[in-house]
Symmetry: C3
Subunit: 155 residues, 3 copies
């Protein structure tokens, strides 16, 4: 890979996986906003209790944790613990020149694992189910990172 262009199939694969993951995380933020509006609560900043057009009847209970909002915040936090590292690892991994098929399995597999994690968490599945989806993604991340390390050390 001597040219940095999306015409390179490996880089295009990474760009597809990365943009899907970024949009997924951004969607969590908007879903948090959406649920806060539905619940009229789950806020965090004291100033959000001021009377404004969007909050005509402020109430201190609006600053208490709201489980429907907190659930999305937990999913977002799990994303923060995982996705930024995938974004860096995926890029460096395609620089190690893996086969396109393997790169597609790993990168798209990671994306699928995170979407399944969202489904499992958002619908409150038992821990074992949610953990399985997280583990799949984490193992992919470990494999890619170890591959980068070995390739860089051997270069």
């Amino acid at each position: 890979m001597d040219k940095l262009t999306l015409a390179n199939p490996l880089l295009a694969t990474y760009a597809i996986a990365a943009s899907l993951m970024i949009l997924k995380v951004v969607a969590m933020a908007w879903l948090t906003v959406w649920r806060m509006m539905q619940e009229k609560g789950g806020y965090r900043a004291p100033e959000d209790l001021r009377r404004t057009p969007l909050n005509p009847k402020p109430d201190p209970v609006q600053l208490a944790p709201n489980e429907r909002v907190e659930r999305i915040r937990r999913i977002m936090q799990n994303d923060l613990e995982n996705v930024p590292f995938f974004l860096a690892a995926g890029f460096l991994y395609v620089l190690t020149q893996p086969s396109l098929a393997l790169a597609q399995w790993l990168l798209y597999g990671y994306v699928v694992s995170r979407f399944l994690h969202f489904l499992a968490y958002a619908t409150g599945q038992i821990h074992e189910v949610r953990a399985a989806t997280w583990t799949a993604g984490s193992l992919i991340l470990i494999y890619m990172s170890a591959s980068i390390l070995l390739a860089a050390l051997g270069s």
Copy 2:
């Protein structure tokens, strides 16, 4: 863009926006430290209650949330939910070869949106004002991510 160098104006634009955002987030960490020292509180680790030269009179209340510190932590958390994804998206976006003018509007516009978000949050503006600054940045992030996805799928 076949050469990865800051002499490339698109990449230089990204590098300016990215380094400003990184410095912004690092500044939040130092601002948290600064306020913890001013307040002599807002700590989180139990061992921070040990008597040391910097904390000669430990008191359990030092581990309680301190609003002046918590405010900066909330701003930092909002950065964590946004900036890492901008850093990845901005890089891939310039690889899609947009016009320099458009890239500058989007990348510098994002930086401005985050600095305004900081100002709105740090000074306790009403939710509508803070949300407006966040929304501008989020829409830029969505636009760039969708552009990357379409460019990579079409390549």
Copy 3:
């Protein structure tokens, strides 16, 4: 650096530092899982109190904060506030074409600072010790970011 390949010593240095940091953060996640299994507690999601093969005797106290778990979560949170920005800054920094020796000192120095931070935090050292390890990494991050900004502005 006109070719994006790990045969480039600067890029290989970055790839080694980046993959080590990613593996470090992933290790924090697995360490959290490990401690939650040891403590049979420190959970966060209400559904984790359902009776399952891995949790045969659910108890509401399992959702209360558990200090051994919380300690790793605090370390992870500190990673989230630092490492994603190092991953972006390190990459852009090597694009500024520093000397290989300087790049190695900064990038490997950052990795060492974060491993020392982990040791200091995990073993509950006094704040001054933990802060010193964090500060070393933060100063490296600031130096690299400022170098990127100056290089990009001057290009």
